[in-house]
Chain length 501, copies 2
């Protein structure tokens, strides 16, 4: 059954059970696993590892591309296997363990992890576990629905475990473009000059003698849990499209725009959806994850090409797309996340980057990660790679959360992931603030006028008015800058008590 | 006298007085002027403009490369000429006007300003004023001691004013490498693969018909005001060199290190000086500004090549270097700041970036710009371009300021310019914290153990201990995070009152 997937005959003898493969992983090891935005993760060996830990406790450092599906992080953390975790996660159980200080989480720009491994500032990787569609005649590994960091993990690891997943269609073969930057000090320019530039190999090239075990699986990727557009996210999309139309009218953009990047999640997905009804056409994407909206844009005839590091779809969309992969194949590429998120390419192509903020402040600083300045949600992910280097850096969020108890627009963000220098456009359902070329005092005005929810507008304007009396390039009442967060922690709401009259 | 400097004969007739040239600049215009780290700035036209403003008030938006010498920003701000200023400044009088809200200052990553101009997100530039050594037979402009943003200003401006400075030696000709990225969507990789890669022209290529006026000057560049190394900066240099030796012993670096970048200022200069007595050799620099230490390293036989965007020296060093330019010429290149600071090149070459922090916090976030979270000092400059994309991001500062009234190591920085994701190594005279691969709680421990001044160690450890009781990935007492800054504002010192006993 799986023999057509293992085309290097000497490797047949490497096929073992998940338990046997997992036994290669020892206490204290650093393990690199495939998986990016809930897709293409190893699905058998890590579960076997968690099972084994029940009787044979062990701790590992786990590196992946990004988040994992199939409750894998939950399973591993509950089995007590995770000592250290990087560079991203999005699991509620793991998040709690991180916030309790039980798992050391190293939150990194997604393009940087493998650079640090390559220069031995992290690692070494003892074992890599990579999900594959097949192994080629030469021992090359064909990844499945994500590339993430798998290529460099496999190249650098001492031992490689391959999970051949029979539920992943063989039509994924040919979709990947594996390019690994040359070594310093002899590194060459990365030759990508367009979203569709194919510059690498369709498989991960490793010495087959490093393949220590092969496990055959059939478990599917988890479906995405993206919420459908609602009134607020449609309003956000509307503000962005109106802004882009205005940019076109000024001659700064054409109706084909610049290549698009969109973060994962419901708001970014809704924004891309909004483009279906827009006047823009012949669009291209150079992004991390290809979501439902990517394929909806293809089907609507709006999108010419999409480059990403993974495909993550809803259950319904998986059913529609996977059998029809050949029809999308010449319009899609999956790259290592080092390349999908590489500053060199993002700057060269001039992307329009759309990412989600947890909160932003008067001056355009963005918090993407920490609730109340302390509690980690998921991690910075690729948002910094894109926001810093793109042509236009857009951050989106609903203006309030928790039924209005929390304002996403605050005097000062309680944690900074993106500084004012890296934020061009802020959008909430209320409106859009164009911060380009504005000094902090000018930024404050457009944020108050355009983005904050009416329930918080007076409160924010009052803070700013009083901060102005102190002066400064970036006026603040430093002793009161986090008073909204302190109030929320104490009373459950950022709202000031209104005097009864 | 100046005829050998104006080699395009049709341009002789353009030579006018500074006053006449300045009359091309009208109220409300956007003006791009040469000048980067106090060198190569236009020295006649802006002064004539300030003089004129006494009787004929006008306001302009002034863009430069970075800071200006000859008290130019002071003169312009005191004449009331500056409405808007970007992307950097370092002038006490201008700083005060910015902090009073009288001048709108747009603080930008130094590599980004011309990208925004090129895509018309800023601008347009009405007039460019560029200091030059000479104008070539074809009308090409040969810059002087800095390139900065001059090339793109001249290319994009409607009118160009050239200041031919006779005090700038003609030997500067041939030192410049002017490369302008091709237009999107057809942008090609920037072909620089080593510090010494020469990829452009030795002059700024513009249509000579755009040259509206030529002014002949003789005023010299201002000398740098870098303080000589002291015990603290020597200790900082010592910690860095010890760390780098350790990296070599681990096989992560060789004794030729990686190309070096150092921010401007006394500490970075002292750190470079420290390399003279180090075991490292055959070094290269890919930096913004070539300072005294650069030439000392050349003279000590330690440095093979230095690429920058300007030369800024002490008076003594100017006297030594300028007459001997030919002997350094094949070892130096001056590039546009877009290229000296380009993320593509910084990442490709894998720089060791050494920049100065105003303050940093428990978790490795760095404030480079704002005193007390509100008052602008100079601006972020190129520190973000380098810190984000280099191989190793080092920030240095003395552990205390104002005779100990201020700690440079605080619970939470009052303004974030560089997030924890972009900071690898922190050094004070006390010691060095290696933050690579560490989670926030681990970072806090090494910062407390290694960097904070003994006078503040217990106070910082106490904050952290109490923050830990709240939990979180990044533990903070959010209501107390700025208490040190609040105390300093009220009492003049961050020190807690010690109970009398």
């Amino acid at each position: 059954m799986y023999r057509d997937r293992i085309r290097h005959p000497s490797l047949f003898g490497k096929v073992v059970s998940a338990e046997e493969a997992a036994s290669l992983i020892k206490d204290g090891m650093t393990v690199g696993m495939s998986g990016f935005t809930r897709s293409g993760e190893a699905k058998a060996v890590p579960f076997a590892l968690a099972e084994r830990a029940k009787t044979d406790p062990l701790k590992i450092t786990l590196l992946t591309g990004a988040s994992l599906g199939n409750d894998l992080d939950k399973t591993l953390v509950e089995a007590g296997v995770l000592a250290r975790r990087l560079p991203f996660q999005a699991d509620p159980a793991l998040r709690k363990a991180i916030n309790r200080g039980e798992v050391m989480f190293i939150d990194q720009h997604l393009s940087e992890t493998v650079e640090m491994l390559r220069t031995r500032q992290l690692g070494p990787i003892d074992v890599a576990v990579v999900e594959a569609v097949a192994i080629t005649e030469d021992g090359g590994i064909i990844p499945t629905t994500s590339v993430g960091n798998s290529a460099t993990f496999a190249i650098l690891a001492e031992k490689v475990i391959i999970e051949i997943n029979l539920s992943q269609p063989v039509e994924l073969e040919g979709l990947h473009d594996i390019y690994i930057p040359t070594r310093r000090p002899f590194r060459e320019p990365i030759p990508i000059v367009a979203c569709e530039s194919r510059v690498g190999l369709p498989f991960i090239p490793i010495d087959p003698s490093k393949i220590a075990a092969i496990v055959v699986t059939e478990k599917k990727d988890s479906a995405a849990t993206v919420a459908p557009p609602d009134a607020d996210t449609r309003a956000i999309a509307g503000h962005l499209i109106e802004f882009l139309r205005h940019e076109v009218s000024l001659g700064r953009l054409s109706n084909t725009l610049q290549p698009l990047q969109a973060g994962i999640g419901s708001i970014a997905n809704a924004v891309l959806h909004g483009l279906i009804e827009s006047p823009f056409h012949s669009l291209k994407m150079y992004s991390e994850v290809l979501q439902d909206s990517t394929f909806d844009l293809f089907d609507a005839g709006k999108l010419l090409f999409a480059s990403g590091s993974s495909i993550t779809l809803s259950e319904e969309k998986y059913r529609a797309v996977l059998p029809n992969l050949p029809s999308y194949k010449n319009r899609i590429l999956l790259r290592p996340q080092e390349i999908s998120n590489h500053p060199e390419i993002i700057r060269r192509l001039g992307l329009i980057g759309i990412n989600t903020a947890l909160e932003f402040d008067l001056y355009g600083n963005v918090n993407s990660t920490h609730v109340g300045g302390t509690m980690m949600m998921n991690g910075i992910g690729g948002s910094g790679d894109f926001a810093r280097n793109c042509y236009l850096s857009v951050f989106v969020t609903k203006s309030i959360a928790k039924n209005g108890a929390i304002s996403s627009v605050v005097p000062m963000v309680s944690h900074v992931d993106h500084t004012e220098h890296d934020v061009d456009i802020l959008i909430t359902e209320i409106g859009l603030a164009d911060l380009r070329g504005l000094a902090p005092r000018e930024r404050a005005k457009v944020v108050i006028d355009n983005c904050v929810h009416p329930a918080y507008r007076d409160q924010l304007a009052d803070y700013y008015r009083r901060a102005l009396t102190r002066g400064g390039h970036t006026p603040h009442l430093i002793e009161e800058a986090f008073s909204w967060h302190v109030r929320a922690a104490k009373t459950g709401s950022m709202r000031e008590a209104v005097a009864a009259d």
